[in-house]
């Protein structure tokens, strides 16, 4: 392996910061939405007899799932895996 290819693994792998930030926002939204209890602690509007308080939280199961999955795809794109190829020589040199 030529020295040009040697990577210092004691650094953070490069990433698309903007995409990572979007993923972070997607993960934060469900947490904020559910921890802001005042926004949904009410009975109306009802849906099929379910108070808003109940069905709103059930709805977030699906929204959160979708957002986490989108965040997963974004993170894969933002920071492709950097294999630790030349790490053995580094380890022995420490």
């Amino acid at each position: 392996m030529s020295t040009d290819n040697v990577v210092d693994h004691d650094t953070v792998p490069p990433a698309n910061k903007a995409l990572l930030a979007v993923a972070g926002v997607l993960l934060a939204i469900p947490m904020i939405a559910l921890l802001w209890v005042g926004s949904y602690a009410k009975k109306d509007p009802e849906l099929w007899g379910f108070p808003f308080f109940i069905w709103y939280q059930f709805m977030w199961v699906f929204l959160c799932s979708a957002m986490t999955f989108t965040a997963y795809k974004l993170v894969l794109k933002a920071r492709p895996h950097r294999p630790m190829t030349n790490v053995d020589s580094r380890e022995s040199g420490r």
Binding site: H9, D10, L27, K43, P51, W60, T68, Y72, P83, V87
Partner: protein
Amino acid sequence: MNALAPTAAHTGVNGVALTVLIVLFVLVTGMGFWATRWRRADSMESLDEWGLGGRRFGTWVTWFLLGGDLYTAYTFVAVPAAMFALGSVSGFFAVPYTIVLYPIIFIFMSRLWSVSHRHGYVTPADFVKGRYGSRGLSLAVSITGILATMPYIALQLIGIQAVLEVAGVGGSNALAKDLPLFIAFALLAAYTYSSGLRAPAVIAFVKDTLIYLVIIVAVIYLPTKVGGWDHIFSAAQHKMAKPSVANPAKPTGAFIPSNQQYWAYATLAFGSALALFMYPHSITATLSSSSRNTIRRNASILPAYSFVLGLLALLGWVAIAAGTKPIGLDGKPNAQLVIPQLFEDKFPSWFAGVAFAAVAIGALVPAAIMSIAAANTFTRNIYRDWIKPDATHAQEAKVGKLVSLLVKAFALVFVLALDKQNAINFQLLGGIWILQTLPAIVVGLYTRWFHKWALLAGWAVGMVYGTIAAYNVINPTTKGHFGGSLAMIPMIGQMGYIAMTALVINLLIATVATVLLKALKVAGGPDETIKGDYFADAGDPRVEKHLAMDAHLTTGAP
């Protein structure tokens, strides 16, 4: 047995249900003992075989084991019981808790997976030792893990007891009442001892089949039987608005949280979510996945489980509409019995028996996994690090087995000593303790800014504060200590989950102490991880520096 039964007719022995329960129970006990032959190893005399099932569990077995962490007596007995007795603030917070759980897993568990993969960490205490070069901090984390697991196991035992009581087993005096529990416990202890992690892995198949069957039938059938969801919600609202028996100035519970309860609801949900994956058993299960991305992918699929959990929680309110009277064999009301009682009242006896078995077996599997994880933690982070560094594999396996018995015995002490009326507190009490390891573990995944002694100081203060605050919560009905998990949040003046207050205090102490220690130039320990470790994936080479000593733990698929 009949002589011991109280006057309330429906709490007598239900012969058919009890027979079905016993048959299924005997079946899984047999499977538990047989499990030692499953994927038989050359020798069971190592921690790797006993405590990690030889690390040969594929995706499916791991999935069932993870299900064991999720569907427990907490889901089946404690959450619906809390909904039945005290309403949404005490019970329904489990839904947002299990929703926000997954973004949290997504964010930090993939990092923990990567660094553990590179360094062969099996427990959170392993990571803390490597990251901070501190055996003391690692000891604190492992003790907390074991301590916090005990009330969680105790919660499982309460689930088993609730089923047995509704089926009519046990008597009115203390000994007869707890005897069936002791027998179930002894069987569990015996096959966990002999088969290790293989036992819950084998039984988990039966457990999940029974649980899904019962949940689907119950959630579809019961609401139509008691007059529809409209009626269920109005009955629940009516009950929660009535004056409380213990304190007539207050309502019985919350139908929808009032604005004084927003902090309580949010901190219970968020605190429980942060706490869950600090437990030894959840971390072991997560680290057993085959790659970094498996965790992140799963995090986006697993919330489906929260939906079913929400429906189960609502069964507590279905029981209100159905007029379920959870009366124990001692003739006193006991909310923990509400779900088994609902099944007994509304279903044919044979199906009630299946439901009882689902709850009882559903409690056995996680109890076994938890006690094994606690035993692994003890063996690896206390026994080998502090007592006998040159322990052989056989010695480690022996210690692990014995500790799994001890952990269960202590869990039994929790069952007998603490107030069982509101069993959900057992899980919340464990959460108060385990959350105090978060700064060392989770913050440590991102930065080593905190000093190891500062983290230890923060942990100690958080533990003491949390325990005292929880001790001071008096149950208004029974006057017992540890009666709840909510206390006034200093500065904010609202009720909140003690674990979160303790965590904030913990972080404050750790921050101040870090600044002081850095000003005094006190050296921190060596860090054996490098930045790249936190982004490693399957296929990356591993650091095998302790190869000679613990090859059996650092190699093999994590």
